[in-house]
């Protein structure tokens, strides 16, 4: 029991007070050395913090900023000004950032004609360009799944199909993105209310409030959420300066993001970027409360269905097959695909990559991207 001692042992000390206030020289030196050694070791352990880019840290205003719903109009203006300045600073572009509110009497829904989707992934990339996602690792909100005909079981689908030519007529193609559920489990589980459903049906995220626990990502039955595991990288010349607080302003490391039906466009009367990019017109978007809108018409006249109805999320994203072509791709869409191949050549086939998934996987497992795809 007596091998090592910090206090010099009972014989050297005559009383407690003395031991405490007047330790012998030896023990004093020993404690000193231990303390110095300990501090040095701690400093060494903390050394990676030196590489912290001060720009990555929240500034005081961001740190003190209130939750979106608690901000007054004036405070929101200040927050927007701060973001504007940050973006100008980082990207050298002055963005037009604003906070468009949901419109009265509007509830957005999406409808997707699976008979027309040719699996070209143009929507995927238009979305990335529109919404200022990180390019490396690339974050994509839309996943297009190549499905064998005769099933809706996504487990039978292929996420990483990589064909020189799409579509492959033995398959149909099913794009999936946030379904803006009317009963969203992601909102229910968020511990800090960083994500919520807006009156027009869009579930949004306050990127300045999210603590990055990823509970919502675990809760979403449609795998619609994406997390910024790394600091997002976005080249300045690819920045889309048309942005809003709740949608496509640049995000930071450690927060969640997802599709928001391009609310900076749709709340101002425009169509989502994915819809505009779709060459075959498979995508339809609009206000379901307006009985004359195209989506209302589709919901009334087509046999629409939702994914995973049994989980009770009540999606606002509907799929349907054209009754005329239950087992083939709409010939009109095939013609468009043919034209695109002629116009774009190899570039058309190259639109394939589900890069986000692969990059992240490759990083995680230390494999090359090729291996991961295999």
């Amino acid at each position: 029991m007596k091998d090592v001692r910090i206090w010099d042992g009972p014989s050297a000390a005559t009383d407690e007070a003395q031991t405490a206030s007047n330790p012998t020289r030896r023990s004093f030196l020993r404690i000193g050395a231990a303390a110095v050694g300990g501090m040095a070791a701690l400093a060494a352990a903390l050394s990676p913090l030196r590489e912290l880019d001060p720009e990555d840290l929240p500034d005081v205003e961001e740190f003190l900023q209130k939750h979106y719903k608690e901000m007054t109009a004036v405070e929101m203006e200040a927050a927007l000004a701060r973001i504007r300045a940050n973006v100008a600073d980082r990207f050298g572009v002055e963005p037009t950032i604003r906070d468009p509110k949901p419109l009265d009497g509007v509830e957005f829904v999406y409808a997707l004609n699976l008979s027309r989707c040719i699996g070209c992934r143009k929507c995927v990339h238009a979305c990335v360009a529109e919404n200022n996602q990180s390019r490396s690792p690339e974050i994509q909100y839309i996943r297009v799944i190549e499905m064998p005909r005769g099933t809706l079981d996504v487990e039978k689908g292929d996420h990483h199909y990589d064909r020189p030519q799409v579509p492959d007529t033995a398959h149909f193609y099913m794009p999936v993105q946030c379904h803006q559920c009317a009963n969203p489990p992601c909102v229910k589980v968020c511990p800090v209310e960083a994500t919520w459903q807006e009156p027009d049906g869009i579930t949004v995220i306050d990127y300045d409030w999210c603590i990055g626990c990823r509970y919502c990502e675990a809760a979403c039955p449609y795998w619609a959420r994406r997390f910024n595991f790394a600091q997002p990288s976005l080249p300045a010349d690819e920045l889309n300066p048309d942005m809003s607080y709740l949608s496509n302003r640049p995000r930071e490391r450690g927060v969640m993001e997802k599709c928001h039906f391009c609310l900076h466009r749709t709340r101002e009367g425009r169509m989502p970027a994915c819809l505009e990019a779709c060459p075959t017109g498979a995508r339809k978007f609009g206000n379901v409360l307006d009985s004359k809108s195209e989506v209302s018409e589709i919901l009334k006249t087509k046999r629409v269905f939702v994914l995973k109805e049994e989980v009770g999320t009540l999606p606002r994203f509907f799929y349907y097959f054209d009754e005329r072509y239950p087992n083939t791709i709409d010939p009109e869409a095939l013609v468009i695909a043919e034209q695109l191949r002629e116009e774009e050549g190899d570039a058309f086939g190259a639109m394939d990559v589900g890069a986000a998934g692969r990059l992240v996987i490759a990083r995680a497992s230390g494999m090359s991207t090729e291996e991961t795809c295999a």
Binding site: G9, G38, A41, Q231, I361
Partner: protein, 410 residues
């Protein structure tokens, strides 16, 4: 008050006193803690990209360890129940060691959640907009903190009374003991609900998750206590009654048997029905489309638990060496099963059917080890200080020198 501060300062000083083995142990732990801090700093700078987690498998090793530790924290209760409900006096002092472990386990569990956050700097958002009662995570924050304070209070009070040589007044701790019993069950239940409430993850969306949690925790926790008590017995003058170890042994045996039974029930339901919902279970036990990362793990866990259970059922396990081996086996077995075996497969395949496997990175392992080392450090210090207090070698009317003398003699 002054007296209490003096008590704390004496405890603090006492934690630096020990023999060579003690120093070597503490030194080793400190090194691992520092390695963990270093790894966490890297993670803090570069983001969670330093871990093996992805959008596909968005929770991994950290949450797995968190889950396991919440279970371990209930160990205390398994000792408290015989003492206070069945008035088994022999275990009385031992309860404190169980509760001290609960403290260390909760501290570790909370650290694991914290290192899992993408934005720990926004932790105070929890205080400002607390999504209660809708989010199970907020429930967890409440029950874990509550359990921590309950145990701090009970242990702190009993130890301080021993230090002051007073008889603890029942009013000040017995009601809390009973609250703590119920509370311990709540921390598991809430943590299990965290997972089982998610309709989009069929692997978790099962009513059996909470009972399985309880059963496995009630095996692993007391098993860990058996090991602690045996270390105490070997390294200090502290007398651990044989009967206490045997009581714990029977608790472990029964809990492990129930836990295995629940595991079998669950596996049966998943495999016999062969519904599409069984994909995750299939991945866990047999692999899916040639992806088999978890298969060796879960089968080792099952093997470890089965052998441990077989040993525990025989009289052979009265022998300390055998008992300890069985305890270590089942702790490792349950750690795999509750950790990796419960968290990761729920993400494979993803809700959209993609199969991405998860392997923790080295950095992630370092952070994990660091937290474990920190927890053990905390626990060692708590036990280190408590033993002389309970043995009457550290009391308020003694001079600290006497305590030290007694410590060196012991």
């Amino acid at each position: 008050m002054k007296m209490y501060l003096k008590f704390l300062s004496r405890c603090f000083r006492l934690s630096f006193v020990g023999d060579a083995r003690y120093y070597a142990w503490m030194f080793g732990l400190t090194i691992v803690v520092l390695v963990g801090i270093n790894a966490y700093c890297k993670q803090f700078v570069q983001g969670l990209a330093t871990t093996g987690m992805t959008d596909q498998v968005s929770w991994g090793f950290y949450i797995a360890n968190f889950t396991f530790l919440v279970g371990m924290a209930a160990a205390a209760v398994m000792l408290v129940i015989p003492v206070y409900i069945y008035r088994n006096r022999e275990l009385h002092d031992l309860v404190i060691f169980g509760e001290l472990f609960a403290i260390a386990a909760i501290v570790m569990a909370m650290l694991f959640v914290t290192v899992d956050l993408g934005r720990p700097d926004r932790g105070m958002h929890l205080l400002m907009r607390f999504n209660f009662p809708s989010s199970m995570l907020t429930w967890d924050v409440l029950v874990l903190n509550g359990y921590l304070f309950l145990n701090l209070h009970i242990c702190g009070y009993l130890i301080y009374c021993a230090y002051r040589k007073q008889r603890p007044s029942a009013l000040f701790y017995v009601p809390f003991v009973f609250i703590a019993i119920a509370w311990a069950i709540s921390i598991h239940t809430v943590t299990a609900f965290l997972y089982s409430g998610l309709g989009g993850r069929p692997f978790w969306n099962s009513a059996i998750i909470a009972p399985r949690f309880l059963a496995s925790a009630f095996a692993a926790g007391p098993a860990f206590l058996i090991l602690t008590l045996s270390v105490l017995k070997a390294c200090t003058s502290y007398q651990v009654p044989e009967k206490a170890l045997m009581t714990l042994r029977s608790i472990v045996t029964i809990a492990l048997a129930i836990s295995m039974f629940l595991l079998i029930s669950e596996a049966f339901t998943e495999f016999y029905t062969q519904s599409a919902h069984g994909a995750s279970a299939h991945y866990l036990y047999l692999g899916l489309h040639g992806r088999t990362a978890l298969v060796p793990w879960i089968w080792s866990a099952i093997a470890l638990n089965t052998v441990a259970l077989a040993i525990l059922f025989t009289g052979w396990s009265r022998k300390p060496v055998v008992l300890h081996t069985a305890c270590i086996m089942l702790i490792v077995g349950i750690w795999i099963e509750k950790g990796m075996g419960l968290i990761v497969p729920a993400f494979v395949p993803t809700p959209l059917g993609e199969i991405v496997e998860y392997v923790p990175t080295l950095n992630e392992l370092f952070v994990t080890l660091g937290i474990w080392a920190f927890g053990l450090l905390v626990y060692t210090i708590l036990v280190r200080v408590t033993v002389p207090v309970l043995a009457g070698r550290l009391t308020h009317d003694q001079r600290f020198r006497q305590t030290l003398e007694a410590e060196y003699a012991a």
